[in-house]
């Protein structure tokens, strides 16, 4: 990793790490009366000092040769894949835990940090930002270089983005365990973490712009439109929704500059577009590269891609208010949210259809290749959950579904069925390319992972559909006296079996992810072993593996 940096980049790293260490010290000093800020200061200081020692220890390594400039820079992608799988296992494990907590509330073991309110954001942020975010960074850097035929502009900034982003994730997750939160869903980290993410994100965007500027292809490929939309819009959303005033500079706690219904509207404008641009646009970028690559088919329709892209980016911006139907939000805002959500179905299904039609002529591969099947099922779940989303945005439907487990089921149809499946499919295609192997360590385990993931998703989603609709109906049923027929406790008792089923579904999905992490780890070991054999020279009676800069299909 570090020997790939030039001497001037190593110097730059030391300067940046020094500044980071100063920030950490400042946080420790400012937060001495406030546990959380001080604790985070120690984390920042520890990470920057650790990395500083690492850089110093490799400081006098020989500089990378000029030949590197004729190759793509994939080290950050490799690290990103590993980080994504680590977060996947952590985030999904906590997910199974919080699911179990709903069925068996005593599993907090009387520890404050293990209460539902603290663990849940660790789960949501762990899987969305930890797993999803690292997967997006890793794949976007890979796709960007391949489709631009240009190497990343330098070796320092991708590492800054990757490590900086993971530092943000660590500060976020550890903050929740200490009870720190802005109380905004998916935007829980406090002000200093938010500021840090802005810096990281701007560098990320600049990598994209600087690489595209130097591209050797006349056109910018669709995947890059989506990755760019993801980076740009997430920056805008993140900055606006997190505008807040800290209680003081020595305090972790801050208060949003928005209040009341404006606060709610800004939050759900953010929240829904986080779904749109983080969990949809970014992963569509992934789909647009790895699916046609693996299927070895041309994209079904370029024109459909254009309509879908602009339809999705334009329409999603309006849809957030459908999270606030029948609330204090003025009805006209709800109308706009609902109607744009309905129109949004068309470009969403056009994207899913474009992906599935691309597989025409390659369905035999879908049947035989679990990696491609992951991507196909992802496109199907993308279609299912976008239909469901538009449907639930209709006010009359929402009056039944809102506040129930149906919403949770919907989110997981998207998160497990679409986001995680497309990521796993892409990783299984990408890992052998990145580590110069002909295939994954075990294609059988890919197949095992696929069925665990699919079974887990189906069990989870069906449990939540049942639970949500029963819940919604129980809450609105009246008896002959004209009063509510069921108490809230009655609805909880009715939910119990579904909560157990959901835990089982989630556990299946987690087992699949663990199998996947193992398979990837073993593939990396396989690559290391091959490298050792290669370096051992001709003594070893094995044919020399072909180690080219790029291999066929990549």
């Amino acid at each position: 990793m570090l020997s790939g940096l030039t001497v001037s980049e190593r110097q730059l790293s030391l300067v940046v790490l020094g500044l980071l260490a100063v920030c950490g010290l400042a946080m420790i000093g400012a937060g001495r009366n406030d546990d959380a800020l001080g604790t985070h200061g120690f984390i920042v200081l520890g990470v920057s000092l650790g990395l500083t020692f690492l850089v110093i220890s490799r400081y006098f390594d020989p500089e990378p040769s000029q030949e590197r400039l004729s190759e793509y820079y994939d080290d950050p992608t490799r690290a990103g894949i590993i980080l994504a799988m680590v977060w996947a296992v952590i985030g999904m494990f906590v997910g199974v835990w919080v699911a179990a907590l709903l069925a068996w509330p005593d599993l907090t073991f009387d520890a404050a940090w293990a209460s539902f309110g603290r663990l849940r954001p660790v789960h949501t942020n762990g899987v969305i930002f930890g797993f999803g975010g690292n997967a997006l960074i890793a794949t976007s850097l890979h796709v960007l270089q391949r489709t631009s035929r240009a190497r990343l502009p330098d070796q320092f900034s991708p590492w800054f983005v990757l490590i900086g982003y993971n530092l943000f994730c660590i500060i976020a997750a550890s903050g929740y365990l200490m009870g720190l939160t802005q109380s905004k869903e998916y935007a829980e980290p406090e002000w200093y973490a938010d500021i840090w993410l802005v810096i990281v994100w701007v560098v990320y965007f600049l990598i994209y712009i600087r690489t595209l500027q130097r591209r050797k292809e006349p056109h910018i490929y669709v995947a890059n439109w989506y990755y760019m939309a993801f980076i740009l819009v997430v920056a805008v959303l993140h900055i606006v929704n997190n505008l807040a005033l800290p209680v003081s500079l020595g305090h972790a706690k801050s208060y949003s500059v928005f209040s009341g219904v404006q606060d709610a509207m800004v939050q759900w404008w953010y929240g829904h577009n986080a779904v749109a641009f983080f969990l949809t646009a970014g992963f569509l970028g992934m789909l647009y590269y790895y699916l046609p690559k693996r299927a070895e088919r041309p994209i079904f329709s370029y024109r459909l891609s254009i309509i879908s892209f602009w339809g999705i980016t334009f329409m999603y911006m309006w849809a957030g208010s459908h999270h606030l139907h029948y609330t204090a939000l003025p009805q006209w805002v709800q109308t706009l949210g609902m109607t744009f959500s309905v129109v949004l179905l068309v470009p969403s299904w056009a994207s899913a259809g474009n992906a599935l039609a691309t597989l025409n002529g390659a369905w035999h591969r879908v049947r035989d290749d679990a990696t491609l099947r992951f991507m196909m099922v992802a496109a199907v779940f993308y279609g299912i959950s976008t239909f469901e989303g538009s449907f639930m945005a209709i006010r009359a439907v929402n009056s039944l579904s809102h506040y129930t487990d149906w919403t949770v089921g919907h989110v997981h149809a998207g998160a497990l069925g679409w986001v995680a499946m497309i990521t796993f499919g892409s990783f299984y295609a990408l890992v052998p390319w990145m580590w110069k192997q002909g295939r994954m360590y075990s294609p059988k385990l890919v197949e095992v992972h696929f069925w665990f993931a699919l079974a887990g998703t189906v069990i989870y989603v069906f449990a939540m559909w049942n639970s949500g609709i029963i819940q919604g109906l129980m809450w609105r049923t009246y008896n002959d006296s004209g009063t509510l027929a069921y108490s809230f406790i009655d609805s909880l008792v009715a939910m119990h079996p579904y909560y157990i089923a959901r835990t089982v579904g989630g556990l299946f999905f987690l087992i699949g992810a663990v199998v996947g992490a193992y398979n990837i780890a073993m593939t990396i070991r396989m690559a290391r072993a091959a490298k050792v054999r290669e370096e051992a020279g001709t003594d070893v009676p094995l044919p020399r593996p072909v180690a080219t800069a790029m291999q066929a299909g990549e």
Binding site: H219, P292, K293, P298, F300, L304, I307, G361, G482, F488
Partner: protein, 291 residues
């Protein structure tokens, strides 16, 4: 547009661009996509014309239907209250005895009271009203402040040791911790208290009974009465029955005498209407029926 090669599977040309092996076909946008794009857009426009939709500075387009969610919900709440008034008015007017004697009204009490109780009271008293450690059993007929309907209704209204200015106040002193009684005296009176409800005592406890009785007479009778039957005006429990709020075993009784007890029940005046309080009172009184 300059076209590329023909794709043998679909028969379409590619667009002529290629990114690391990925190509795109120039397939036109399928008609069905354009149709649904038009259909959903028309639906949206129609909805905007009929419903409140677009902002106009300080106001907004009201829509031809004149639909307003605030008016709708206000009307629905009013209509529902009106429909219920058929029986709630009778509950409001009638006395407790009259309601209890009317099977139709009692059916409403059981129906509406069950959810009202589960949503407001069950968290402490349990879904069946049987209480739990620290929370009295309402199905036992062992009333701290009196079991007639008017008294129960008043307890619900003002609460116990609550923030209501007229709250019922009940406090058992921490006889051991505050040094009113010595350790031995606490042990003695604990044995005596347990004997009042006819519990089987150990040999050691039986030896403490006489001394315990003296301690009881000097310290406890003010609230619990000469015979330990309790007093409703101070909310002191009957010590001779089988119902224990904090437990009747040796350890629990000792803890209670040593550290005292201050039960807490919130007041419901600001939360429940007079009719709902009346409903709950009557419902609570039916809890014992099932025992």
């Amino acid at each position: 547009m300059e076209l590329g090669e023909r794709d043998p599977v679909t028969g379409r040309h590619t667009t002529g661009h290629e990114w690391n092996g990925i190509e795109e076909l120039e397939t036109p946008v399928p008609r069905v996509v354009l149709f649904f794009l038009a259909a959903t857009t028309l639906f949206a426009i129609g909805y905007w014309i009929l419903m409140p939709a677009w902002p106009l500075g300080v106001s907004y387009t009201k829509g031809l239907l004149g639909f307003d969610q605030r008016e709708v919900v206000t009307r629905q709440v009013r209509d529902a209250a009106f429909a219920r008034a058929a029986w709630t008015d009778r509950i409001a007017r009638a006395s407790f005895e009259e309601i209890a004697a009317d099977p139709t009204l009692m059916r409403h009490v059981r129906e509406a009271g069950r959810t009202l109780f589960a949503d407001n009271c069950a968290v402490c008293h349990g879904v069946k009203g049987t209480g739990g450690p620290g929370f009295p059993n309402l199905a036992a007929g062992a009333w701290l402040w009196g079991g007639d309907p008017a008294t129960i209704a008043e307890t619900i209204r003002i609460g116990i040791n609550s923030t209501h200015e007229g709250t019922r106040v009940s406090q058992m002193m921490a006889f051991g911790r505050d040094g009113v009684l010595t350790g031995q005296q606490v042990l003695n009176v604990g044995a005596y208290v347990r004997s009042l409800s006819g519990q089987s005592l150990s040999e050691a406890e039986r030896g403490r009974l006489a001394a315990g009785k003296e301690v009881f007479a000097a310290n406890c009778v003010v609230c619990h009465g000469d015979n330990g039957k309790g007093k409703h005006d101070v909310g002191a429990p009957d010590l001779t029955d089988q119902f224990w709020i904090y437990g009747g075993d040796v350890q629990s009784v000792h803890t209670t005498i040593y550290g005292g007890r201050q039960g807490y029940m919130p007041h419901w005046q600001d939360r429940l209407s007079p009719v709902e309080t009346k409903l709950l009172t009557l419902y609570v009184l039916t809890l014992g029926d099932r025992q």
